[in-house]
């Protein structure tokens, strides 16, 4: 599909990523899922191209491209391997982005540059066992003792957890103040008292890492505060505003990957002696999928382009795009999967992986229910 608003540069960038995904990733993606190991060899190639810092200025180690280009990258990678794509999404929009938006010059120098140029891996620790949708209920505490922050608590479900060198996370300075008691911090791997914990055994995205983080009397220097004191919640809400479209585009990419595969499959296989694609029930599945995917693509790029045009917050547009894309992606994968019959049931064919991978998109970075609440608040008032 062509969107009227893509520039030649966007189209060229998409071609470049697509070429890479076809050449370097397509033949690996099943193995990545099967082994359930983080694909370092792929990430190293992605890093060489500067794709771990697409939307940040060159002076901060980035490629200096726009949000739309970054979204194109995630779409084209997710189309082939969602495990790789979510690693990139968490690194760029959840770790680099808050550093870029709220970090001091020193923090950008020290943390954003190595992240954006791909020397280091980033992650974002918001969720806890008792603070999921209600991220403001953070039980991780922080106290300022002398000139040091002392952190105690545990995070759960953190993408890139065990492999991250630089982690942006939240802790509460004053739990009675709820969301207004939260501040954001930066911790580095190897800091005493900080350790990544158990990795989750997941339905899908099995080549990506999701783990716990543990803080036990972890000491951080004063300058590791990110943004203003007590404004951590705001930092994260803003981060998630932008983060949503990267989860939305992950869903879009997966759905497109499933459609690509479904089309090829229907063209190459027969059912009772008749080509599959000549059955109306197959045509309906493919046509519905193509329609929903196109609608999702418009929503996602609309939100991304608004951001590129200088819109500060894209809360409503981002939530709508994420909600729609993630829900249609699950449906599309279910339906396309059924074209394959028995061939859909094992890893020999990628279709069942698309389905297992995409379900997360209705949960991560705010569940569908939370997106509906966000949208309703924007439209109906608080």
């Amino acid at each position: 599909m062509k969107l009227a608003e893509f520039t030649d540069k966007h189209n060229a960038f998409r071609e470049e990523v697509r070429e890479f995904a076809k050449k370097e990733l397509l033949s690996e993606s099943t193995q990545i899922d099967r082994k359930g190991e983080f694909p370092w060899h792929i990430i190293n190639k992605i890093k060489e191209r500067g794709w771990l810092g697409v939307p940040f200025p060159e002076k901060y180690g980035g490629l200096g491209l726009d949000t739309t280009s970054y979204i194109i990258l995630v779409e084209e990678i997710a189309r082939v391997c969602a495990s790789t794509a979510i690693m990139i999404a968490a690194h760029v929009s959840l770790a680099c982005q808050p550093l870029y938006a709220h970090g001091t010059e020193e923090q950008k120098e020290k943390y954003l540059i190595p992240l954006a140029c791909g020397e280091k891996v980033g992650s974002f620790g918001l969720t806890e066992a008792n603070a999921g949708s209600d991220a403001g209920a953070t039980e991780t505490t922080v106290k300022l003792i002398g000139d040091k922050w002392i952190i105690n608590g545990n995070k759960r479900f953190i993408t890139n957890g065990t492999i991250a060198d630089i982690i942006v996370f939240t802790a509460s300075q004053d739990r009675t103040k709820k969301t207004h008691g939260i501040s954001a911090f930066i911790v580095e791997k190897g800091t005493k008292g900080y350790e990544a914990g158990k990795e989750e055994d997941k339905m899908g995205l099995r080549g990506s890492i999701t783990s716990e983080l543990h803080f036990e009397d972890c000491e951080l220097p004063k300058e590791n505060l990110l943004g203003e004191e007590y404004e951590g919640f705001k930092v994260f809400m803003e981060t998630l505003d932008g983060g949503r479209i990267s989860i939305g585009v992950l869903a879009l990419g997966i759905a497109q990957g499933a459609l690509d595969y479904g089309i090829k499959y229907a063209q190459e296989h027969d059912l009772n002696g008749k080509p599959l694609y000549k059955f109306q029930w197959v045509q309906k599945i493919v046509a519905d999928a193509a329609t929903e995917i196109m609608a999702a693509r418009h929503l996602i790029y609309h939100a991304a382009m608004l951001k590129d045009k200088g819109e500060k917050r894209i809360t409503e547009e981002g939530a709508i795009a994420k909600l729609y894309a993630s829900e249609i992606a699950t449906r599309v994968c279910y339906k396309l999967h059924s074209i394959l019959g028995e061939d859909g049931l094992t890893r020999k064919y990628p279709m069942e992986r698309f389905l297992r991978d995409t379900k997360l998109m209705e949960i991560g970075e705010g569940t569908s229910e939370i997106q509906r609440i966000v949208i309703a608040r924007q439209i109906l008032g608080k």
Partner: protein, 345 residues
């Protein structure tokens, strides 16, 4: 949910099956799903208590019960382990083909051993939709193939169906990477290899085994849906966010109401169909129940949030098992086309 058509004996049977599933199978479900190791010992035990010959008459050491009893059995097992329920279904289908269409000698030779579980049977699933690339030979998936003593499958020749049963020399290719139903010992097999070699037999017209197979798949779907709903309901009461149980949120309540409506409707259709002689009733019930089990498990995962996505909680497995079942019963949209055709011809 209760249904008028359930007799006292069905209710008692349900209790027994529930007890067996919860004590015998439940403790190992999660581990076995991960390793894909079949629950052979449990299957043997299930045979000892009469679960492997539900439809087989007492004359051949079976339980001599009706189809609704088998449906209830399979449904209860599926609430705990859909994969175990699938194994039990496959075995019982083979028994029933022999019972309904086999010669007296065959019945005498095989049924007592099958009904008591001394011999375990596997069965080829006919998904109805099995696309092949041109020139390729068709493969069948054999449930229980990795461990059964014998297995049966249907072949079509000149429009005529034959049910072939052969001794399992355990040389079948195991499908180790099944997305779901991972403990059913599913293997692939090319029927062309199915020569009888003196240690098997053939039944010339196997009768309407399709319809039995599908109604049992539908019963598994019902078990999956109901269990997913029950788990989600209890989870929504225990899980607190925003200082409230998530069950107190309108959107979660809507999800739960949708889940239970579809689950109950599926069960009623399946019970009714299994007491009906009308084949199309079974077709309709199967499509409805299997397709809705996709919906119900999907929403169940949603209620669990991040915890629905990981293997420490039950919804993740139900989600995968339901999808396999839908394919096994022939892909919902394809079957709807066939139903529409039957309704209008």
């Amino acid at each position: 949910m209760d249904w008028m058509g359930l007799k006292e004996e069905h209710k008692l049977l349900r209790q027994d099956m529930k007890r067996f599933a919860e004590t015998e199978i439940a403790p190992q479900v999660s581990d076995m799903d991960k390793t894909g190791e079949p629950q052979i010992a449990s299957l043997k035990k299930f045979g000892e208590i009469g679960g492997l010959g539900i439809l087989v008459s007492e004359e051949f050491e079976g339980a001599g019960m009706d189809l609704l009893s088998l449906v209830i059995t399979v449904e209860e097992l599926a609430k705990v382990s859909p994969s175990f329920a699938l194994s039990v279904s496959a075995h019982n289908i083979v028994c029933n083909i022999i019972l309904s269409n086999g010669s007296t000698e065959l019945k005498k030779e095989y049924l007592p051993a099958l009904a008591t579980g001394r011999v375990i049977a596997g069965m080829g699933v006919d998904t109805m939709i099995h696309p092949i690339s041109s020139g390729a030979t068709e493969e069948k998936l054999i449930v229980n193939g990795s461990f059964s003593d014998i297995f049966g499958f249907v072949v079509k020749n000149d429009g005529k169906e034959k049910f072939i049963v052969i001794k399992n020399d355990k040389g079948l290719k195991e499908e180790k990477e099944m997305m779901g139903m991972r403990t059913s010992g599913i293997c692939s097999f090319k029927p062309a290899e199915g020569t009888i070699k003196g240690n098997g037999f053939t039944i010339d017209s196997p009768g309407n085994y399709y319809s039995l197979m599908r109604i049992l798949f539908a019963a598994i779907a019902c078990g999956i849906s109901q269990s997913s709903f029950e788990y989600s309901r209890s989870y929504s009461k225990e899980r607190y966010q925003f200082e409230r149980p998530i069950a107190s949120f309108g959107m979660i309540r809507i999800i739960l109401a949708d889940m239970v409506s579809r689950s109950n409707a599926s069960r009623l259709l399946v019970y009714q169909a299994s007491s009906s002689t009308n084949i199309i009733d079974k077709e309709i019930a199967t499509v409805f129940a299997t397709e809705n089990s996709l919906y119900v498990t999907d929403k169940g995962v949603q209620v669990y949030g991040g915890y629905g996505y990981i293997k420490d909680y039950p919804l993740e497995m139900f989600f995968r098992d339901a999808k396999v079942l839908e394919v096994f019963s022939g892909s919902a949209d394809y079957r709807k086309v066939l139903i529409g055709k039957q309704l209008t011809s």
